[in-house]
Symmetry: C2
Subunit: 595 residues, 2 copies
């Protein structure tokens, strides 16, 4: 039950984003597509052929939201869509409005591109959410009928196949967890193991790597291809590895994690360096302006890191969870909750041509491929689930936000202004007074100095083992000075630049905070001068720094190296996740350093 910034995001999701998505399902035709399958609507199929997944993801969001609070409108939405899905479902369990109406002859015919299993996966995830959140088990019936069909068709003894877009893998494991029905897990494991064996064709469009079908997961040593596909796959890989105790599969995931996070991750935690094929690039290929950094990839990275954290307890996974949440994911939604970035670049130039939907100058209220907004809605509606982990030994607080954390060991009340302030006060109300367990508090990787009840602590988690009595309080203090960060020298795109960070937040410069005659493109940062955290308008804390302005005048495009002389100018950096909420204009995360 988070308050603070995470709570505010959940509140906005509840009042703005989720209703907006539900509305857009109607106006975009996504629900009508399903009504066509029942004969309740006529007209053409509208939107992407996988638009059913927008419905399923919104349904999942609504289900999680109903788990947080009662809402008659949401209940009606879930009921009516569940009714519709029940009616639309074939007798054998098949459900996909694109193939059921106009393309019945192509059903299951072209898995490389059909997204049939992808859509099935999102249906299953919605059903699992409804069941877990107590929003009804009727949807689970629909999902199980479809899943049973998949087991029959693609399970052991059936067709060897994989989907061009991973998603079904993690969904089937979640369905197994919810139902205990082992064939779902076995099918997920089968899909994971069949990948990388050319089942999507010898030369599929965009190449096998786009679909991660170029090599079996256990042999791959680099994240590659379409970023969302790669990351969804890896979430499913960890799920299968954990449930099957499959150490070599978990090793493969850990190896690919290093490829991703050592060489292919933006400082915002985002992934996907290329617009072309929405893909990972080469190692260290991390352009700011053409960062694709798709919102769905950030959400997928969050899901993957969460699973890695649960599987291994590895602290670095929690660090990435936090980084991508506060930056790569948070950036995508506008302050009003109804405009979204699909791609989340780290730079927008003066003179940017924002006419393309994949690189607009501002957030848009919907997309022709609308995967991201409902994906945000389902994640944010369930954010409370990711704040802490528990083991028999105790509770590990992973993300800090005001609110109450309910665990089997007891309830923990957190008071904090995190991420604006590093002081976190935790009050324990144990389930069994006097029971002994360990409260472990994550010391983020970015934090160089922390104290627990005034005593310096080091390491990955600050641990308090105690026989807890009600009302016992612990205070963690994470020093949160502004940080000046540079990239690995092989990251050519930001050579000689620095980014300003504070706590888990990446900051950026926006044109609106500069005089009109000083383009953000022409600013340099004095990285040796102090950077101060001060109260701001757009955010509780903004950063001020010292910089210079270098008017390039009529400098030629290419010429002899020229010594730059600039005029001093004060700089104000705002949280990256809040950019493009004021006067539209240029922005940059990476600022060239005064040399």
């Amino acid at each position: 039950d988070p308050g603070g910034l995470l709570g505010a995001w959940q509140q906005r999701n509840s009042t703005a984003t989720l209703p907006h998505c539900i509305d857009r399902l109607e106006t975009s035709g996504a629900v009508d597509n399903l009504r066509r399958a029942t004969g309740e609507a006529s007209g053409q199929f509208r939107g992407m052929w996988f638009a059913d997944s927008d419905v399923h993801k919104t349904l999942e969001a609504a289900a999680w939201e109903l788990g947080r609070r009662p809402d008659a409108n949401l209940e009606r939405f879930v009921e009516s869509i569940t009714d519709l899905l029940e009616r639309a479902q074939d007798a054998d369990g098949y459900l996909n409005s694109y193939f059921q109406v106009d393309h019945r002859d192509q059903q299951w015919a072209e898995l490389v591109w059909s997204h049939e299993l992808y859509c099935a996966g999102h249906l299953i995830q919605a059903a699992v959410a409804a069941s877990r959140a107590g929003a009804g088990d009727r949807l689970l019936g629909v999902a199980r009928r479809f899943a049973d069909l998949l087991v029959k068709r693609f399970g052991p003894g059936g067709t060897d196949a994989v989907c061009g877009h991973p998603e079904i893998e993690t969904a089937l494991v979640e369905l197994y967890r919810t139902t205990g029905h082992r064939p779902y897990l076995d099918l997920a494991a089968r899909f994971v193991d069949l990948r990388g064996r050319g089942l999507l064709g010898e030369e599929p469009k965009f190449g096998a790597q786009y679909y991660q079908d170029h090599a079996p997961v256990r042999e791959a040593d680099e994240v590659t291809g379409h970023a969302v596909r790669q990351l969804y796959l890896l979430a499913g890989v960890v799920d299968v590895a954990v449930e099957n105790g499959d150490a070599s599969l978990l090793e493969a995931a850990a190896r690919l994690w290093e490829s991703a996070f050592d060489t292919k991750t933006y400082v915002t935690g985002a992934h996907g360096s290329r617009h072309r094929d929405e893909a990972f690039g080469d190692p260290y290929e991390l352009p700011s302006d053409r960062a694709y950094a798709e919102t769905c990839a950030a959400i997928a990275s969050f899901a993957w890191n969460w699973r890695m954290l649960l599987a291994t307890g590895g602290h670095r996974y929690a660090d990435e969870l936090e980084r991508v949440l506060y930056n790569g994911i948070a950036c995508s939604t506008s302050l009003d909750g109804t405009h979204f970035f699909y791609s989340n670049p780290l730079q927008l130039r003066t003179g940017h041509d924002g006419s393309h939907e994949d690189a607009p100058s501002q957030r848009l209220d919907w997309y022709s491929c609308a995967c991201c907004p409902p994906n945000l809605a389902r994640l944010v509606a369930s954010l409370q689930s990711y704040v802490a982990t528990t083991t028999d030994a105790g509770v590990q607080v992973q993300l800090y936000t005001a609110g109450r954390i309910a665990t089997p060991h007891g309830e923990i009340t957190v008071e904090t202004d995190y991420p604006w302030d590093g002081r976190v006060t935790l009050t324990v109300s144990p389930a069994v007074p006097g029971a002994t367990w360990t409260l472990a508090l994550r010391i983020p990787g970015w934090c160089a100095s922390a104290t627990l009840d005034g005593v310096p602590v080091t390491g990955e988690y600050a641990e308090v083992r105690g026989a807890w009595e009600a009302g016992e309080t612990v205070q963690l203090e994470l020093a949160m000075p502004a940080r000046v960060v540079a990239a690995h020298p092989r990251v050519d795109a930001v050579r000689g630049c620095a980014a300003l960070l504070r706590g888990p937040l990446v900051y950026c410069l926006e044109q609106t905070d500069l005089p009109d005659d000083v383009l953000v493109d022409d600013v340099r940062l004095d990285a040796t001068a102090p950077v101060d955290a001060v109260p701001g308008e757009i955010a509780p804390i903004v950063l001020t720094a010292r910089g210079t302005h270098h008017d390039p005048g009529d400098a030629p495009l290419y010429g002899p190296p020229a010594a730059a002389t600039g005029t001093p100018i004060p700089l104000t950096a705002v949280p990256y996740f809040l950019w493009a909420n004021r006067t539209p204009g240029a922005m940059r995360v990476w600022i060239p350093r005064v040399s």
Copy 2:
């Protein structure tokens, strides 16, 4: 009749590239597509739907080549293809094997994407070449019948339409120049003026800018969209402007030239910053690794600059002609003449995933979209036409290469090792002994110091006005020291880097010239140390420089700015156009400077 490097390129084109293209027309199915239209072949249409243009471009190359030297095989090729085209042509003049056989119902139905006028343009250019080169006028008959159909259908009083891919505009003006038939020019002017008025649809795929249909040419102020489309269009724009004495149209071309060459051109003269949509990017968006820099765009830039030069006499256009020829264009062909780059990046990283055809690690021998190889063949076969310009007042030598230049004023024999050496000796053999005219010798923009017969000269052209007697000699000496060049400070992609140039040539570092344990990715250039031009193996002149090696060790992807300490290492840079002809490996044009 060039010797030297340009002559060697023509020789290689003649013995390797052109025969290779002719062979690939057969194996790729491009000729069979036409045979299907005459009933001489069966089977499926193969290759791109605009594969006819590969045939036309190869035909144009063969025609130019026949203008240089007799060749029985080439004559047979031109004859047989001309026969085939005559037989394939519809009675009304229409000719396009894709639409004539399987897609007759779509003929003229979807100009935004059909490439019908584009293919017609290349057919016309082939016919113009055959006529000019004395390789027969029969093809001109085919082209005129098609062009007459176009005039009837799309001329004044006909359909208002433009082609999704410009090319027809310049072709029609050339046909007008060859035939004197004014309706061809009028149709070209009409196509130019109708562009930018939404005739390609309100929301065409990839957006109107992709096709330069977002704004009329006279109003556009930025080169944008698909680079080849934009540059082909501009070549036609200049053609129309010149023939119609249309000053405002020429002004528009000059304005767009500034947009291109002040903010969107690679140091190699190449264009196209994005793989996505093969497009120009924002101003100063010039990544080295993801440079699209399509070969056809470089050829188009050459054509556009040649036309600007003829239209205005502007020296800067000749500079760009030279730059793109020796770098952006020359790079695309392998030493053996049968392997080609489609995209010409300025950097290849260690660990590059070269599995994509659009970003391979080495030149390929053909492409699924094979526009570039025959485009190279037709340009190189006609290179001699671009060496000099003439006016009533005299001769202007624009490109320096050994050989003889035939002009109305007389013949000029050029002795030089250019571009390896800056000494150019010109011996004049006037058409009329004693006639007075001016020999103007271009002083390239890159040249800071030149002498003419030992006397320092400045300005854009060194001019010798004389009453020429046979055998008179002039000696131009262009100082050609290695140059260290930096990019405009807004070119984020190469901040803190320098490129090594000498004369018109851009140089680069290749992994094969470094020890195995020193990755080219980890090298720095001491830009203050001397750079020397010395004899090399891969090229007559290579550059040596002083650098350092910075092993990044286990540096994190993001961390505090670290002072770099490197070990000294000698560097050898080779001409960019020759890279990837030895041991495959990483390459970079822009080298980070020791800071």
